[in-house]
């Protein structure tokens, strides 16, 4: 049972959230099942999140840990409303935003055009993005390259631009899915401090990462998700230690 009597103000409530995907299998193995038609057996269901209930409060920075395929990203997408829960419900105060804009950008276009495009994709108005444009360019440190097509950028450079665009917008609830490892060391420090600042502005941050150090450095509560089930919820050190111990023993597989 999830505690609801806390005096702190809730900003996200997950009520028995399930996420399932329907996928087409390769067909080979499934077809061996007897007595089922071809079309029926080829459709498989992947149950990525299996009934997670959780209350997240204002001012919390929640770390989410778990092995690959444990349902972390699916849960985050359900919270952001990108991939609605197939069962149960997600409630939130305002609109949780995912930090990430890469998919909207076009490699053939220059950096500054991509700033406009990415900004609009994230919900800025044209006016807002034009005003923010200078500070985005400054933060990315790519002023000399900003009129070159993005495809000419190195991986680190495009990561810097993506982060700079995404990190400009103010969010009430921010979801960061593995976005800290961007650029070189200097930019990473800059990015981390920007995220800390965003956390102060946002109030609530959800951080998915495999980097236990960055989780323990930034979070004040951590949940451990495994095979779509909430395994542990508590203070960062305890949960991370338990998670690391389990990973080293390899007993979650």
């Amino acid at each position: 049972m999830v505690a609801t009597e806390s005096s702190k103000k809730p900003v996200i409530v997950l009520d028995d959230v399930h996420v399932t995907y329907q996928v087409f299998g390769t067909g080979k193995k499934a077809n061996k099942v007897k007595g089922k038609s071809l079309s029926r057996t080829r459709m498989r269901e992947v149950h990525a999140v299996k009934g997670v209930s959780l209350v997240i409060h204002e001012g919390e920075t929640l770390g989410i840990v778990g092995s690959n395929g444990s349902g972390k990203s699916s849960l985050m997408r359900a919270i952001a409303g990108l991939f609605p829960a197939t069962g149960g419900s997600v409630y939130a105060l305002g609109k949780p935003m995912m930090l990430g804009v890469g998919a909207a950008l076009l490699p053939n276009l220059s950096g500054d055009k991509n700033i406009l495009l990415g900004g609009l994709a994230m919900g800025y108005s044209k006016k807002e993005i034009t005003q923010a444009s200078e500070s985005i360019i400054d933060f990315s440190g790519l002023r000399d390259f900003i009129d070159l097509p993005m495809r000419t950028y190195s991986q680190g450079m495009s990561a810097r631009l993506r982060f700079s665009i995404a990190a400009t917008k103010k969010h009430d609830i921010l979801i960061i899915d593995e976005a800290l490892a961007v650029g070189d060391r200097q930019f990473r420090l800059k990015a981390e401090s920007r995220i800390r600042q965003m956390r102060q502005e946002a109030g609530t941050v959800l951080l998915v990462s495999h980097n236990m150090k960055s989780i323990q450095d930034t979070c004040n509560r951590v949940i451990w998700l495994e095979k779509g089930v909430l395994l542990m919820d508590g203070n960062p050190k305890e949960v991370c230690d338990a998670y690391i111990a389990a990973m080293e023993k390899g007993d979650t597989d």
Binding site: P10, I12, G81, V90, V101, L116, K126
Partner: protein, 281 residues
């Protein structure tokens, strides 16, 4: 107190539910700049790496018209419509806008899974933007169309301005169709394979290089069906506006308007119904 009551008591609202229709349209309107810039930049980006760049937007349909003109001009012989080149070019160019919108619309959701996974916006912006992009590509073709008309002895007239409402109706129709096909292909990806065949079928039944009135003269039932084809209606109206001896038939105005408004309204509504389900795969 259960969780749902607790959440609502604290002023939280449910995430990932489809907004009401009116609210949805309002959100779409608020994000119109995104749809437009996405279309404009995608169009710019598509030809950014070829030497002739944007010229391909007019070269491709011109080459198409040339090929069809050469082949069907010979095959049809005496069945060739009068003013064959203006007749054919109008058909090919308008059809290329329709077929481009249709195939881009059908892929609008399925080929944008990256966007769907990270950014939240009314999903209808994707098929809408696909059609705007095709429309942006269509504008230079209209200029070429005008030039071809003049070169082949058509006189410039006020009637040419009818192209504005005709293009507008075609845009409405294509947008509606894009929204319908965008949703259908999400559920059944296989439909994307059928798009080229449907397009081909439309191409041959819309009278791009022949007059349906002449070919179907002995089959009144077939002619009646062919007259109801919206793509034929758009093209035939455009010919009536551009080519001197041809007239715009009032019946075709009714056919074109009914299809356009009907398909558009249904398309928006049909797409919205599945709003919370896009991007699942």
């Amino acid at each position: 107190m259960n969780l749902a009551d607790y959440a609502t008591a604290n002023g939280l609202t449910q995430v990932g539910v489809r907004p009401k229709f009116g609210e949805y349209l309002k959100q779409v309107w608020q994000r119109r700049d995104f749809a437009f810039i996405m279309s404009l930049y995608a169009s710019e980006s598509a030809n950014a790496r070829s030497r002739l760049g944007g010229w391909w937007l007019v070269l491709v349909p011109s080459l198409q018209a040339f090929t069809y003109g050469l082949i069907f001009g010979l095959i049809l012989g005496s069945l060739r419509p009068a003013n064959f080149i203006p007749f054919l070019i109008t058909g090919v160019f308008l059809f290329s806008f329709f077929s481009g919108s249709f195939s881009a619309g059908a892929k609008a959701i399925t080929s944008n899974s990256g966007l769907l996974k990270t950014l939240s916006f009314p999903r209808i912006l994707l098929p809408l933007s696909a059609v705007i992009r095709e429309f942006i590509n269509f504008i230079p073709q209209l200029a070429i169309l005008a030039i071809v008309m003049l070169v082949f002895g058509q006189e410039i007239s006020w009637e040419w301005l009818y192209l504005i409402p005709i293009t507008f109706l075609m845009f409405l129709f294509s947008t509606g169709l894009a929204m319908i096909s965008a949703r259908l292909t999400v559920r059944i990806q296989d439909l994307n394979k059928l798009v080229p065949f449907i397009t081909r079928l439309m191409f041959y039944s819309s009278g791009i290089f022949f007059e349906i009135e002449r070919i179907f003269a002995d089959y009144p039932e077939l002619l009646a069906i062919a007259t109801l084809n919206p793509v034929h209606a758009f093209i035939s109206l455009a010919r009536g506006a551009l080519v001197n001896d041809l007239q715009m038939s009032p019946v075709l105005w009714i056919v074109a308007t009914a299809w356009s408004v009907g398909t558009f309204l249904f398309g928006v509504f049909y797409f919205w119904r599945a709003e919370a389900r896009y991007g699942r795969d």
